[in-house]
Amino acid sequence: MVYLTVLMVGAVVILVGSLLVSKKLPRARYRYWDFIALAAAVLGVFAFIHLLSPAGTKPEINDTLTKVLLIVFPVVTVLFLIIYLAFFFLKGGIHSAVADDERTEISQTKSARNALLATNLALYIYLGSSQTLNRSALLIVMFSGYFVYLASALFYYYWKVQ
């Protein structure tokens, strides 16, 4: 719990600090970042890692799903990073010439919206048969939101926001 609290405080400090700096420096690159959407994503990832983490008093990793997700989670993250970098070097992205603009903010906001939709749909699927969520179900629910967030961010970044 201590390390998670430290992580959370650190993330909040970084986000608030970035926000303050961006307000002071209007030409900063992250002026158009949607910090609320980013904070939501960071907290979601923290909760997901907290569920996956075998440290401390948490339950032992004895179910197959957790083992699979322990592999899939970093693989998906790295895969999206590679795709992002590949597109960035091949296509250039929408922001390479003019830096970030309002579309960056909209794309992050819409990614958060899509992640919430995916999370809610997964919750809806699971809660049809049970009124409680165990660790495995919660992992799948959160992973679906995480996956959709990354995919949406990539989609909106390269296919532009209307």
Partner: protein, 168 residues
């Protein structure tokens, strides 16, 4: 358990397909699309409200509404039902009177829908994180889920009111 999951997956797929068809139909007919609504944000809100109501009002139709044995839950159920009916009547009244000043939408309406959903996502994740940090067995009970979803729903509603009247 598995048959329920498969049935729910099929239901979600059909609902999403139906919703997507509506969105496509409206986008392909620009002259009929007079309103600017973020359909995905509204869909997320509807699903969230459905999950919340299914948790709040009963378990797979086994528990009838208003008979949980808990006075507080019963009162909250009645209040939410009355609020829902009053809201429905209010919006039907607005639609019938064609109050264009209130019902008119533009790009800002769409943006306010999107931002409200984003804020609901943040509130849900904050509540989820707090509950998971405080939980030993990593399991969310019905009351935990109700509180987590209620955080998101109230934030979404509050944000939509804020953005609607303050404009994004």
């Amino acid at each position: 358990m598995k048959s329920y999951l498969i049935l729910n997956v099929a239901l979600v797929f059909v609902l999403s397909l139906f919703y997507w068809l509506i969105i496509r139909y409206r986008k392909n007919r620009p002259f009929t699309r007079k309103d600017h609504t973020d359909y995905l944000a509204n869909y997320a809100g509807c699903v969230s409200a459905t999950v919340f109501c299914s948790l709040f009002f009963g378990n797979n139709f086994n528990i009838p509404p208003f008979q949980t044995g808990d006075a507080l839950i019963d009162i909250l159920q009645i209040i939410i039902t009355i609020l829902f009916v009053v809201s429905a009547v209010f919006f039907i009244y607005l639609a019938r009177t064609r109050n264009s000043d209130i019902l008119a939408t533009d790009e800002r309406t769409e943006l306010s829908d999107t931002k409200s959903t984003r804020n609901a996502f943040l509130a849900t994740n904050v509540a989820l994180f707090v509950f998971l940090v405080g939980s030993d067995n990593m399991t969310l009970s019905r009351s935990d889920l109700i509180i987590i979803l209620a955080c998101g729903l109230f934030t979404g509603l509050g944000s939509s009111l804020f953005y609607y009247f303050r404009k994004p």
